[in-house]
Amino acid sequence: MAKVAMTVNGKSVSREVEGRTLLVQFLRDDLRLTGTHVGCDTSQCGACVVHVNGEAVKACTMFALEAEGAEVTTIEAMANEDGSLNVVQQAFQDYHGLQCGFCTPGMVMSATSLLKDNPKPTEQEIRDYLEGNICRCTGYHNIIKAIMAASGQDMPSMAAE
């Protein structure tokens, strides 16, 4: 066991962890922040995406000890201060960008990273950026629409509709 200290959603936390403890296990099992999901555990699906020092990473493919000293942000910190949904979350609700909701935490975290670097992405740029986020329910169109809307853009008319 070794000690790890980091800032999670603005709060300093510190725990004893094993070398093999993944960041996602640390968040879910030690901190009980279960909004970050594990869909595959093989780095494919993106349900576990969180921000580490402002960058999207798959928390199932990073060790907790590697986040020593880092600022980690999870879906739990995405709502507005008054508890209402933020722009991206609200757009997912408004445009039916989720059905079962399992992929949604990762989708919101990835979408937020995208909009930080590229505030007005094109439809294609959104699709490319979400390459590592898999959704089994929506067929993606509504997720793309939600992100378009969250970035203040008109919705594209999409193929296959």
Partner: protein
């Protein structure tokens, strides 16, 4: 995963010392190693994390005009910072995996692993890059020694990669849609003194140079110079995604496309 400890040295020297321990292994972005550990295909006692070593990160151009990339530099950083110097390489980095993978995975990890379908080995070979380690410099032509095999010795660390910058270049990747690795990827680099063509994803012997295409393109840099030229399907990878003959065919198609799109 089996249990192991993690050490986080902050200098190359300390990392080399830590790697001298029995069953110690380097950990870079973990984008290959962590899935391997989860499958219990590796059993290190200590992982020596390279992520705390500032001296092996970064992108710059040296006095000789070479693009120097620290071994611990992420794909995401290369995509952003190499674009002004070597757009073909930046473009390759920008299409490895997905954004989250690119924020962790490193050039050193990719070159050390030498996956037969990885992207960077093609760029290193076609650019005539030099791989620098904590002990020596290795020319790309000597570095890649077959699938998952390189010239690296036990405990040796890739600290930097130096790329000569071509006049024009392009990497064309035919993606395996589930893994996003290259089913076949071809990197074409045109230098003043000739053209190099490196192929990944295709051969059972790992990344290789297609010398026949290089010769033709060196005298006429156009897709038509490759007309009628084909590779033998012997030694090509055959799996559920494609036969050996299909891969051999794809190599020629991807090479022509790369030549047409090179800039």
């Amino acid at each position: 995963m089996y249990a192991f400890d993690i050490e986080r040295p902050t200098s190359i020297a300390d990392a080399v010392a830590a790697l001298a321990k029995e069953d110690a292994q380097a950990l870079a972005g973990g984008q290959t190693l962590i899935p391997t550990l989860k499958q219990r295909l590796a059993m290190p006692s200590v992982l020596v994390s390279l992520s705390g070593i500032a001296e092996i990160r970064g992108v710059c151009k040296d006095d000789a005009g070479l693009l120097c990339i620290g071994g611990g530099t992420t794909h995401g950083t290369v995509a952003k910072e190499a674009v002004a110097h070597y757009p073909g390489l930046a473009e390759l980095a920008a299409h490895i995996g997905d954004p989250a993978v690119r924020n962790r995975g490193t050039i050193g990890g990719s070159l050390a692993n030498n996956d037969p379908s990885a992207c960077y080995p093609a760029a290193a070979l076609a650019s005539g890059a030099t791989i620098l380690t904590n002990t020596r410099e290795i020319a790309a032509d000597d570095y890649f020694q077959g699938m998952f095999t390189t010239a690296l010795e036990e405990g040796e660390i890739v600290t930097e990669v130096k790329f000569p910058i071509p006049q024009s270049s392009c990497y064309m990747k035919f993606e395996q849609p589930a893994s996003r690795f290259a089913l076949v990827g071809v990197f074409v680099a045109k230098f003043a003194d000739g053209v190099k063509v490196a192929v990944t994803g295709a051969s059972n012997n790992g990344v290789f140079r297609w010398s026949e295409a290089e010769a033709a393109l060196s005298s006429d840099f156009s897709a038509s110079a490759l007309e009628g030229m084909s590779l033998s399907a012997d030694d090509m990878i055959a799996d559920m995604h494609g036969t050996a003959a299909y891969r051999a065919h794809l190599v020629a198609v991807m090479t022509r496309r790369a030549v047409s799109a090179a800039k």
